[in-house]
Assembly symmetry: C2
Homo-oligomer: 118 residues x 2
């Protein structure tokens, strides 16, 4: 990931449990489409046992998110999503202003990092 600022699209959802195969295929298609899109930095998905999940997609700027979401193919997937897979979802588009973290080490206190601010 680059130094901030960059943008994140936070997609939170609850699935209805239907059509796991179709859902899985659409997820893969969406990731492949995102990878081809200018400004794409990465994607991270977590899903819990109850069908609630969050997908974070990272982008260099907000215009890249808009361009990605405006694609016709994504509109088709969105229609299918609503008819078949989700109870509800929301999307928040946000500008990342600071980022830092920590990783453990085999011995010692681990490593702290700070990607800084704009």
């Amino acid at each position: 990931m680059p130094r901030p600022p960059y943008h994140v699209a936070i997609f939170r959802y609850r699935r209805n449990g239907e059509d796991a195969v179709g859902y899985g295929e659409a997820r893969r298609d969406m990731l492949e489409m995102a990878k081809l899109q200018p400004g794409f930095l990465g994607m991270d998905s977590i899903e819990g046992e109850g069908g609630e999940g969050v997908t974070l997609s990272y982008w260099t700027d907000e215009a890249s998110i808009r361009a990605w979401r405006a694609q016709d193919e994504l509109g088709v997937i969105r229609e299918k999503s609503r008819r078949g897979w989700y109870d509800h979802y929301d999307l928040q588009v946000a500008r990342v202003e600071r980022a830092y973290g920590w990783s453990s080490a085999e011995d010692g206190d681990g490593t702290e990092w700070d990607a800084g601010s704009p």
Copy 2:
């Protein structure tokens, strides 16, 4: 949630699987502390089977996030976290600029909403 802008702290992690009881207690303590903090809007946690998870906490502004993270008690929990519970984690602080979503309905196409832009 209010109309944008507001702020989100995106905490991504992988747990090492140790000390589930101590970890659970610290999570509850952190949520209770956040609820008492000025500017707190809400918290949303998802954890997958492999110990990877994300916690989104929402705040009216960035100063509220800084004040929350600067508390002594949170510093104690952070030290325990590093020694006992996580393989790695990172935190991104971001300003939410747009938000919208969709909910299913028993009959019909469901409900679309748009919380607007700043």
